[in-house]
């Protein structure tokens, strides 16, 4: 089976999340990996037994190298379906691209990893060390019941190097931002609009809070991370009032605060509380809460394994391998507890075409991804001194 055929097969097994039922695709991946000689397990959490993961192991001993990709995709939104120019689950090839939901995010890196492992297995396996493929469920909804659950429940081995497959145009990404989501509430007093001065307008209070948060966003640009840039704060949704002829007594805004590596989520929450507390909104009151944290990720690339990986990218692409940043989040943040080495994010294509209609992966990039991973594994696990 060629790499292209493998990716087409994976795209043709829908795995949208929600609902996040990965049983079919997990079975396919598990059978395929058993077929090339891997030992396979398929753990799933009790609270969501249909969110099945696959862990396939080749070889034994140190070093342990993990290849991680997720098998769930975002669902096709109602207004998205009509924009697709092909069937999103048909895996159509056109102009050197494979189109399909999940084609680039994240079935392309998954296929590249599976195919590279098959190549290693068919040429005698690893002379030393272990390769572990993790095909994870639940990434698209935060990974709590997928990779985080596997890491916390002892399903994942301690690794010396981890490659998390996501869309980096085959450059080596060593950092991504984290997110703090929060809700800001303004509370006032409702009266009829014929005499608004007798009431307390929650929308007006929220307006001041939004401006303060905008200033906070500008101030954040003083903090710069060399790879992922600056932290940000964005008010994305605002809801308040019910009719034009009443003073609104409540207004709610939802914000998204991106953290750069090194920022402490607890400190960020305190900063948001301080910004809101500093707004002169009396007699209305303002509060911020409902914090949801998804952490940042950052790694060095100083180890021999990381250098070998950078070398493999450099050799195959003939271009600067990085490191670069990756803007969206990934399951990498859940894997920091199972690595005694370093971790990179790496894969074909762009995250900008993920989560959208006409998602595709360039076949050339897909093949380069697989060649790089194969080269890396060959030169580290089967290379070195001959005699």
């Amino acid at each position: 089976m060629t790499l292209i055929e493998l990716l087409q097969a994976l795209i043709r097994i829908p795995s949208p999340n929600p609902p996040g039922d990965t049983r079919d695709i997990a079975n396919y991946v598990a059978d395929w990996m058993r077929g090339i000689g891997c030992t396979v397990s398929m753990p799933a959490p009790e609270v969501k037994p249909e969110a099945v993961n696959v862990i396939a192991t080749l070889g034994s001993g140190d070093p342990v190298i993990m290849l991680h990709a997720h098998i769930d995709t975002v669902p096709i939104a109602a207004d998205e379906a009509q924009h697709w120019h092909v069937d999103p689950y048909a895996a159509v090839i056109e102009n050197g691209r494979i189109y399909g939901k999940g084609s680039v995010d994240d079935k392309a890196p998954l296929a590249a990893m599976m195919h590279a492992m098959a190549k290693i297995a068919s040429t005698g396996g690893t002379k030393r060390g272990t390769i572990v493929l993790v095909a994870a469920a639940e990434e698209e909804v935060g990974g709590r019941l997928g990779t985080r659950w596997m890491a916390d429940n002892g399903h994942l081995p301690m690794c010396d190097f981890i490659i998390v497959g996501e869309q980096t145009h085959n450059r080596v990404a060593t950092a991504h931002k984290g997110v703090v989501r929060a809700t800001v509430r303004a509370t006032g007093r409702s009266v009829h609009a014929t005499n608004p001065d007798r009431g307390v307008n929650a929308i007006a209070a929220m307006a001041r809070a939004v401006l303060a948060l905008e200033q906070y966003h500008r101030d954040l640009s003083q903090r710069v991370h060399p790879i992922v840039g600056v932290p940000t704060c964005n008010v994305g949704v605002i809801q308040g009032g019910s009719t034009a002829n009443a003073v609104p007594d409540s207004c709610v805004a939802y914000l998204d605060r991106r953290m750069i590596p090194g920022e402490d989520p607890a400190v960020v929450q305190r900063e948001l509380s301080d910004v809101v507390a500093g707004v002169n909104a009396a007699p209305a009151s303002l509060s911020v809460g409902d914090f949801l944290v998804s952490n940042w990720f950052s790694s060095s690339v100083d180890s021999l394994l990381a250098k070998s990986f950078l070398d493999a990218v450099q050799t195959e692409l003939g271009a600067d391998p990085g490191p670069v940043g990756y803007l969206p989040g990934s399951d990498a943040k859940h894997l920091t507890g199972v690595t005694r080495g370093e971790m990179v994010i790496f894969g074909p294509g762009s995250y900008e075409v993920a989560h959208a209609f006409d998602e595709y992966v360039e076949i050339g990039e897909l093949q380069a991804t697989s060649s790089i991973i194969k080269r890396f594994m060959t030169q580290t696990l089967n290379g070195g001194e001959p005699l």
């Binding site: 070398d311 030169q379 089967n382 290379g383 001194e385 005699l387």
Partner: protein, 330 residues
């Protein structure tokens, strides 16, 4: 200046002492020792440690140690040299790759840093590592193609500048420096983990054991070690360097079928080849062609198997994928 001690050998500044690193006793009552020569310079400087016969069928390094020993005058040295002419003594006695007395840890070059309470060869590796870590600034592991192959002048080194410098210090004869991505289980791995530099150098093997060939291998290796000593100013004299250094990665070309391995008669080591160039034919007992072995990528051969009769899965050819040239690391 203090004396320099390795095992039972304690050398005052400006002197040369022979001794052993004791390992254990064998069932017949003989001790298992590692012979060593400690040559301690009159002035301070780095310690260059040379290991020969990690594999018992690779005696080129022993000859090289003898030549280096004969050329050095400790009174004129800044720094010191430790020579281990025969590291794996039981394997050397048996002229085999591994230690025949050890069923469980046969290949010494895969088990470093060894174990104090391990199998026989693990104990030998452990005792060796302890002194290596303690004493050596730079380590050179000498290997060859042994009984099964011939290898041309080739160095394996990690990709950091200090290791490349040590490799380049081997001098004008050593133009091929291959990448060792994950030194593990070998003396250079012990050095790497201790934050120091070790390299593996390969030259010789069964097809080069005629009087002239074996002598040449010993001398080229010894010249390289002397050049390293000049480069790090342990001894006087101007070091030489290769004009260019090719770098890349090793490809293991294994026999796809059993048969008679007939390498192309005009094939030469370390001459550039193109992907797809014919390396060898493998024929069956009747002379009928079974398969052809071709260059997997652009690169060069740096070694070939010794005996033409080959079985499936055996090493046939040591092929270097050439990825570019190295610039001077110093």
């Amino acid at each position: 200046m203090q004396s320099l001690t390795v095992g039972t050998a304690s050398a005052e500044p400006g002197t040369r002492v022979r001794g052993v690193i004791p390992v254990t006793n064998l069932p017949g009552g003989r001790p298992l020792d590692i012979p060593i020569i400690v040559i301690h310079g009159a002035q301070p400087g780095p310690c260059v440690w040379v290991d020969a016969v990690i594999h018992g069928d690779e005696p080129e390094g022993t000859l090289a140690c003898h030549i280096v020993d004969s050329r050095l005058d400790p009174a004129a040295m800044r720094g010191s040299v430790v020579l281990v002419p025969v590291l794996n003594v039981p394997a050397y006695e048996a002229a085999q790759r591994g230690n025949p007395l050890d069923t469980f840890s046969y290949d010494l070059n895969r088990i470093y840093p060894g174990k104090a309470d391990g199998y026989l060869t693990e104990r030998l590796a452990h005792k060796h590592s302890v002194w290596l870590r303690e004493v050596a600034t730079y380590e050179i592991s000498i290997h060859s193609g042994g009984a099964h192959s011939y290898l041309s002048e080739t160095i394996f080194a990690t990709t950091d500048e200090k290791a490349i410098e040590l490799a380049q210090a081997m001098g004008r004869d050593w133009k091929l420096i291959l990448k060792s991505f994950l030194p593990k289980g070998s003396p250079p791995a012990v050095m790497y983990e201790a934050g120091k530099q070790g390299i593996t150098v390969e030259l010789g093997g069964r097809p080069a054991t005629s009087p002239a060939d074996f002598d040449r291998c010993g001398r080229v290796l010894a010249d390289g070690i002397m050049n390293v000593l000049r480069h790090y100013k342990v001894i006087d004299g101007a070091p030489t360097y290769a004009d260019t250094w090719h770098t890349g990665v090793q490809h293991a070309l294994l026999a796809p079928v059993s048969g008679l391995f007939l390498a192309e008669p005009r094939l030469q080591v370390q001459v550039p080849m193109k992907q797809g160039d014919l390396i060898a034919r493998i024929v069956d007992v009747y002379g009928d062609l079974l398969t052809e072995l071709r260059a997997p990528v652009d690169g060069m051969i740096f070694g070939l198997r010794a005996l033409p009769n080959v079985q499936t899965g055996d090493w046939c050819c040591f092929y270097a994928e050439i990825q570019g040239e190295l610039s001077r690391a110093f």
